[in-house]
Symmetry: C2
Subunit: 375 residues, 2 copies
């Protein structure tokens, strides 16, 4: 069996080049996870997901506990077999989704009682149950159940919320079933308050998790504030554990966060955009539904090596979206995931070469150029 | 350049094993086309379509003349390049779709004026324009514009309709641009009336088309009547030209039609069913949405070698359909197309071996068995 491990291979200022080792394989960092919410990366086969270079998939406790149910996934041999993804899997705790249900949930110190958005049935999620579900799913990286403190919280609100998350983290750690090649991450909260963030890191460090999630960011605070929080939080985290920035972000968010020392990311942006017509390109982004693409024989991005850009014109993709053809979502999602994975690949190379600052400067220059108009 | 050709390789009673040669490659017959209506086989990549064994794609004049327009496809280099399908393409004439518009169309001897179902804009389709569109699309096999005589037509109605289709066929043949490796098929009409069908075959034979479509079937007349029509029609068709049964059918329709001497088929059934949850299996069919599959670890069909059956349980596919995940449509469409292509492959082998009758008997036995219930 392989022990769960994080190896820090090299650094370039605060940026880090590393490797996470799990029972189901390794993940080169900085990495961007493939978002497989309901045990599927939307509009992608697992073969295509792998072809983009993704090594880690993230699935969602909330969605899977409702359908098909954690016990059923366990009976069927676990999530890897269920979804035919044999690489490492991280699962989030379900807390973020449950807390977003607003009118449909009631939270106290014990946990959260909520109504399913699917059929209105009642469910309970506690730190202990979330850990049990993630164990049943056979997740390689289990995330603690926490409360994602709302953007704009006062210091007192943020403190109370963070303290509860730390008490929950302790309960999560207590029931976590240790297995070779499996790890558990605590989640740093504290909103935008430096002392609260520092206190949260200290509390989690004492519990000796295998890694740190950075929670409560990318929820409307803006990029500048988000980077500020990273700047005053990350230096308190021990360097020999991976740092995972949850639910983030745009390509620019990723570059800035890597420069500050983040190792892992997940976000629905490339997949969701792929279904609604937005494409990420080296020179920014474009919406393929726009009429200006209707007769354009060029690929989405002529610097891109993905199968979509190698084989299809903007005109064809525009046609597919206009006709609401599923293949449009498939091809554009593939392109976007390839774009994100390529960005991570390039950043890993830049860190190894000690060129991360120059890389970031070039990235921002390219993004600012904007799409080239058709002839 | 390669000449358009049909080679009859072997026969087994009325069943025929052949090969169609086009400028874009060959097609082993009997064959089932991949339905690519709007220049995409719904929920499939072209790589996956090819992996099922499909060699010929069918696209639709009606859909493509409205979006993106035939002139635009021509500007972009033709349909093969547009949709990245470099094998042979057959296009239908648009007639069947236009005539289905009921209130939205007006037909006379000249052609049909109709309103687009997309935006209500007015369009005209004549034999000459349909041929021009299919030329612009760069279709390898152009179908004549005809009138699909309605099921239940009286002898007089069927005769008038067939006579018009024959006059239109003559206009189509007159404007067809001959190119190496490209062919044009006339379409036999005449409803359920033996003498009208015979007259239609005679008329088309005189025009020396490269092949024959059999129209006006699989429109509600029932399998027995459909087979009767084949029985009294096909013997009149010269043996050295391919016969294409349009818009048909179920697996059982295909087996019976091959036994009667049909070489080519197209039908939306495997792709449409793949999006709505119906799977074709050796022992009949099943609906994956059915609750009995929710915990079933078995593949859809344990005799099937498709990637879906090799890698995914019924429980997973049930989950995908229950969550309305696009991957459900992708995986089930792939399975269904593989099923259809495998059926054609097996029939080609059976004809070569002189075992078509035994094969058909075994097929019907297997289908009658029905799905095996979960343990």
């Amino acid at each position: 069996m392989t022990a769960f491990a994080f190896d820090l291979l090299s650094t370039d200022k605060a940026a880090r080049r590393g490797r996470v080792t799990t029972a189901h394989g390794t993940v080169e960092t900085p990495c961007f996870m493939a978002t497989g919410t309901a045990a599927t990366v939307k509009a992608m086969t697992v073969e295509s997901v792998r072809a983009t270079g993704a090594e880690l998939a993230i699935c969602n406790t909330y969605h899977l506990m409702l359908r098909p149910g954690a016990e059923r996934v366990a009976e069927l041999g676990g999530l890897h077999k269920f979804m035919n993804w044999h690489g490492p899997i991280l699962t989030d705790s379900g807390g973020y989704q449950v807390m977003s249900l607003a009118g449909l949930r009631k939270m106290d110190e014990h946990g959260v009682v909520f109504q399913s958005h699917v059929d209105g049935s009642k469910h309970e999620l506690t730190p202990e149950r979330s850990m049990e579900i993630q164990y049943l799913l056979d997740s390689n990286i289990t995330m603690c159940l926490d409360e994602c403190t709302q953007n704009g919280a006062t210091r007192q609100e943020a403190n109370e919320s963070m303290q509860r998350s730390m008490r929950w983290a302790e309960r999560c750690r207590k029931v976590f079933v240790r297995r070779e090649g499996y790890g558990q991450f605590g989640i740093v909260q504290g909103s935008v308050y430096p002392d609260l963030r520092e206190e949260s890191v200290r509390a989690l460090s004492a519990m000796e998790f295998e890694g740190f999630g950075i929670g409560g960011l990318a929820i409307g605070e803006g990029q500048k504030m988000m980077f500020d929080v990273l700047d005053f939080t990350l230096p308190h985290i021990q360097t020999d554990k991976p740092r995972y920035m949850m639910g983030c972000g745009t390509p620019s968010d990723l570059v800035g966060s890597v420069q500050r020392g983040i190792d892992m990311f997940d976000c629905v942006m490339p997949t969701r955009s792929g279904r609604t017509g937005k494409a990420f390109i080296r020179r920014g982004s474009l919406n393929i539904r726009n009429a200006r693409h209707a007769a354009d024989p060029r690929p989405i991005d002529d610097t891109c090596t993905c199968p979509t850009c190698q084989n299809y014109s903007r005109a064809y993709l525009h046609h597919l979206f206009r006709c609401e053809e599923i293949l449009g979502a498939m091809l554009l999602t593939h392109h976007n995931l390839h774009y994100y994975q390529n960005l991570m690949r390039e950043m890993r190379g830049a860190i190894e070469a000690g060129q991360m600052e120059a890389y970031a400067a070039q990235f921002h220059d390219d993004q600012a150029k904007g799409d080239i108009a058709a002839l």
